[in-house]
């Protein structure tokens, strides 16, 4: 999982390096174990380093580097460990072609053997390096750069987006094959990138490249061609994301900023979709979707927890529904028909596992719906329908506000598709932004985190609507604190996990005042009698407080919306534990924001 960028200024630009480095910082969330840039003028200059982007920034020259075109890359290792050599860009034997690549080239071993047999020398262990050598081969046979690039790409199998610069041509060549690539049309030049934040500072006018298309960006403009080489006219779209949302605005971490943005994110998610007067939920972009007979949700990670929540909501409203790990979906071999609605839930809309499962569902004839944060993302284009959660860009690798917005969006979706909507449900949804704000205003999570910082492990339990959010609480804790954490449906504790419970394993119990309260208190007693400290996250403190050691209060709400509120407290606990442990909160080790490899 990586990010690539390319840039061609309208005129030779001494600041090209800055534009490239800024672009990479906008893509850092996609991976960050190494980074590099290549700038083409009469010759090629390549700078690359293992480590975070700051390592690369320290390694580039202070003086301006003139260039007509440049490419850049942030890498998250899939082939070969993170080292300077394995960092992109990769070059050919002569150092006249440089290539960056996102995705996986499945047949690279064969290609490499063939190239090595022909005398090419490889410097890295990456799959990417075959590309510059393939281009070199064609160039040596007399092909022009564009033809050489096209021939090289034709030889590749797998999922990839590639971009290349050559020392003798103006511009950047690129191709998309099942990995995201978007072009940006700026006033001072042309951009390409794996994702829009890379160039949002320069332009909001974009062209989304389709699979199989080639693009050339050069000082005079962009040219998009299909597999046969015919010029294609693609629509220019304006992205609405505000580049301002890409700054930390005074917070130490994006995660904290994004946690605090949840009231606004939920407002945006609900806007125009609720009518309290008519007691109705309506979602414009999917108003042609009818009540399905069955629902399957496919997703990964945090989105999977939102899907477990949504499956329960659908079942409550009489529609058989299940959530599946996208990576296991084909192996699960679930019966599917054209009465089944398959909902792909992915923040980025580019998650490879989810896209793979969605393609299976499409192939098997299901009606498909994407629930995503990114307009124009692959999932939104490949599904029959798309609903947007409108959370705004999320930079921190650990998903926070997008989980809240996914849950709110899925709660509305379950109501809109079934037509079941009480006035109280709309009222309670509209109360969410302020209720979240009230948690942010007075959460004791920082104190709780301090009190339990020296624990061996953290457990999270809940029942009903409280169960998925218990899993999410544990995932967040794992991701950013590197501490052992597990979430369980509360009733499962006694069937095994209880053996792990001790006085050094605090247990966070999500307890709704309106549902399952007695059973939850029973589970709390189970762990308390093993001396585990219990922290209740609850909307009914009076009934709970004498059973537990600590309370994290949330405003009173219906059980269906409780997880959205409880999660805010759990996010804050994880944040403060990680903060007090000095972890790299926004970029936890080994993780990337959107995972575009299967």
């Amino acid at each position: 999982m990586c990010g690539i960028i390319g840039y061609t200024p309208a005129q030779t630009d001494p600041n090209i390096l800055d534009v490239l480095l800024d672009g990479l910082s906008g893509l850092e969330y996609r991976g960050y174990d190494s980074a590099g840039v290549a700038i083409a003028d009469s010759s090629l200059s390549v700078y690359k380093r293992n480590g975070e982007l700051s390592e690369l920034e320290a390694a580039v020259p202070d003086r301006p580097v003139n260039g007509q075109a440049g490419i850049g890359h942030t890498r998250w290792s899939t082939h070969g460990p993170p080292t300077d050599e394995n960092a992109h860009p990769h070059t050919d034997c002569n150092g006249s072609v440089a290539v960056v690549h996102n995705g996986i080239i499945e047949n690279y071993r064969d290609l490499r053997e063939e190239l090595e047999a022909a005398g090419h020398e490889f410097e890295s262990e990456t799959d990417t390096e075959v590309v510059p050598h393939l281009i070199e081969t064609s160039l040596e046979q007399g092909a022009d750069a564009e033809t050489a690039f096209r021939r090289a790409v034709d030889r590749l199998e797998g999922n990839f987006a590639v971009a290349a610069v050559c020392s003798d041509i103006e511009g950047v060549l690129a191709a998309r094959h099942r990995s995201p690539l978007v072009l940006g049309i700026g006033d001072d030049g042309y951009h390409l990138a794996s994702d829009v934040p890379a160039f949002l500072d320069h332009t909001d006018r974009v062209v989304y490249l389709q699979d199989g298309q080639f693009a050339k960006i050069c000082p005079s403009g962009i040219e998009i061609t299909d597999e046969s080489g015919a010029v294609v006219d693609m629509p220019v779209k304006t992205v609405e994301w505000d580049p301002e949302e890409a700054g930390k605005s005074g917070y130490d971490h994006y995660m904290r900023k994004e946690i605090n943005e949840q009231p606004r994110a939920i407002r945006n998610c609900l806007r125009g979709r609720l009518s309290e007067i008519d007691r109705a939920v309506s979602i414009d972009e999917i108003d042609d979707l009818e009540r399905p007979e069955r629902v399957q949700l496919i997703s990964c990670g945090t989105s999977y927890h939102a899907s477990l929540y949504a499956a329960r909501l659908f079942r409550d409203r009489g529609i058989p529904a299940s959530a599946f790990h996208a990576s296991e979906y084909d192996a699960d071999a679930i019966p599917i028909d054209d009465e089944t609605l398959v909902i792909a839930v992915t923040q980025s809309g580019e998650t490879a596992d989810t896209l793979g499962a969605l393609r299976d569902a499409n192939r098997w004839g299901a009606e498909t719906l994407a629930v995503t944060n990114v307009v124009g993302s692959s999932v939104s284009r490949e599904a029959d329908h798309a609903m947007y959660i409108r959370a705004g860009p999320e930079i921190s690798v650990a998903a926070t506000k997008t989980f809240a917005s996914q849950q709110a969006a899925l709660a509305m979706l379950s109501s809109a598709l079934t037509g079941e909507c009480s006035r109280g449900f709309v009222e309670d949804l509209r109360a969410l932004p302020d209720q979240i704000q009230s948690i942010l205003d007075r959460s004791r999570a920082e104190e709780v985190a301090r009190d339990y910082i020296d624990s061996d492990a953290y457990f999270f339990i809940g029942r009903g609507y409280g169960a998925p959010v218990a899993l999410e609480g544990a995932l967040k804790m794992k991701e950013i604190t590197y501490k052992h954490a597990e979430g369980f449906p509360a009733g499962e504790l006694k069937h095994g996990p209880l053996a792990l419970v001790s006085e050094r394993t605090p247990v966070f119990a999500i307890i709704s005042g309106a549902s399952n309260q007695e059973k939850m208190i029973g589970n709390v007693e189970e762990v308390a009698s093993r001396k585990a400290p219990v922290i209740a996250v609850t909307d009914s403190p009076a009934a709970v407080e004498h059973h537990v050691d600590d309370l994290l209060r949330i405003p009173e709400t219906r059980p269906q919306l409780l997880p959205i509120l409880a999660n805010v407290q759990l996010q804050l606990v994880s944040y403060w534990v990680a903060n007090q442990l000095g972890r790299s909160i926004d970029k936890p080790r080994n993780l990337a924001k959107s995972v575009t490899v299967e």
């Binding site: 949302e245 605005s249 407002r267 509209r430 302020d434 704000q437």
Partner: protein, 394 residues
């Protein structure tokens, strides 16, 4: 015209506005339906300021989360003032974030763009600082300035003598020398004040100029002043200047509801059948007015809910307040107690702080102040000041 960075002082709580400042600083209290600070930022951006430096302290996350990293494409740098030890202390906290001449402004008072433009254009090269000044009949509650031929000769806080003072509007253009003067000045009661630094410059013979402006300026000292501040904005046309009446469409307004202008209705509001809203009403984001409810001359902040048949006249609410079905805030005048002071005959029906909640059928005696998270049971009569978190039974 030169373009300056602006240091915006937004770190203080504004404790005379309690209990509304329980969870947010005074700059984030509403004027119309936007925070006071947003009006200040608008005035600055309209005057061509191209860099904002916000000094934040008390409940700073509320400022940061509202504005984010930029406002109307102007970048905001946040500077933290951990302890609020005066305006001079706040200014020094921001020193490293600016270069050369800059503008300094209070973030908790309404100032229009004209005052800012007048101050910028009145700043002369030989002056260490230029102050924005206003002709007001009374300056006792604020800073008074003696101006002679455009030069400031004396600055007095809360003057009580009968000299010819003009009011310090809290907008300054300063040269770097002012930072040094503030640093060198003696703290008063443990606090460094910006004006003490300016006074020191005047005393040492430096040129400090004043520009008398006729722009709009408004300040809320006590909670009920929020009504007057918003009404002034209506009368000055500022409140709905950038919000055309078409904005109502975005909300869910029942066709049988009556809107009596001037009214400003923010996004996502719901107004039920038969409700009467206005005149002089500000409905914050996502507020709800139930069927047949009546709201007049009130500032209703975001997420507040008025039940069916509720009446709210001369009412100020915080965020997320619930005035239940059939409850009545019948309007002033009333006597209001703020700590140990009684203010007689103020035009305040009732003030309900963030997330105060009544279950309906409640009568508010004029001048009532209801603290945050107070829960009032049905049929109660509320009078006086109710502390935070209290449950009130009839």
């Amino acid at each position: 015209m030169d373009s300056y960075a602006a240091i915006v002082l937004a770190a203080g709580e504004g404790n005379r506005l309690r209990p509304l400042t329980r969870y947010r600083p005074k700059p984030m209290l509403p004027a119309g339906t936007k925070p006071i600070l947003e009006h200040v930022f608008d005035a600055l951006v309209d005057a061509g300021i191209d860099e904002l430096v916000a000094v934040v302290g008390y409940r700073s996350t509320r400022v940061q989360s509202h504005f984010g990293p930029t406002y109307r494409n102007v970048p905001i740098t946040y500077v933290s003032q951990e302890k609020q030890l005066g305006t001079g202390h706040a200014l020094l906290a921001a020193e490293s974030a600016v270069d050369g001449t800059c503008l300094v402004i209070n973030g908790d008072q309404i100032v229009d763009t004209r005052i800012i433009r007048d101050t910028i254009s009145g700043h002369e090269a030989d002056a260490s600082a230029t102050l924005a000044l206003l002709q007001r009949p009374s300056v006792e509650a604020y800073g008074g300035v003696i101006l002679e031929d455009g030069h400031v000769t004396n600055i007095v806080e809360n003057p009580h003598d009968d000299q010819d003072y003009v009011l310090n509007a809290g907008v300054y253009i300063i040269e770097p020398a002012v930072f040094d003067a503030v640093r060198a000045s003696e703290p008063t009661a443990g606090e460094h004040h910006l004006v003490d630094g300016l006074s020191a410059l005047v005393d040492t013979g430096e040129t400090v100029n004043g520009v008398v402006s006729e722009g709009i300026w408004a300040d809320a000292t006590y909670p009920w002043d929020l009504l007057d501040v918003s009404f002034e904005l209506f009368d000055a046309g500022i409140v709905d200047g950038d919000r055309p009446p078409a904005d109502h469409r975005d909300s869910n307004v029942h066709p049988s509801a009556v809107i009596r202008e001037p009214v400003v209705i923010d996004r996502d509001c719901v107004i039920g059948p038969g409700a009467v809203v206005g005149p002089y009403v500000c409905l914050g984001e996502n507020a709800t007015v139930g069927s047949n409810a009546v709201v007049e001359e009130s500032v209703i902040d975001a997420d507040t809910r008025l039940g069916a048949n509720a009446t709210a006249i001369e009412c100020v609410t915080g965020i997320g307040v619930t005035i239940g079905a059939g409850s009545t805030v019948s309007g002033g005048p009333g006597d209001v107690r703020v700590r140990d002071r009684i203010f007689e005959d103020e035009s305040l029906g009732a003030l309900l702080a963030d997330r105060a909640h009544d279950d309906g059928g409640v009568t508010y005696v004029p001048g009532s102040i209801v603290g945050p998270d107070v829960a009032v049971k049905p049929g109660t009569t509320v009078r006086g000041t109710i502390p935070e978190g209290t449950e009130v039974w009839s």
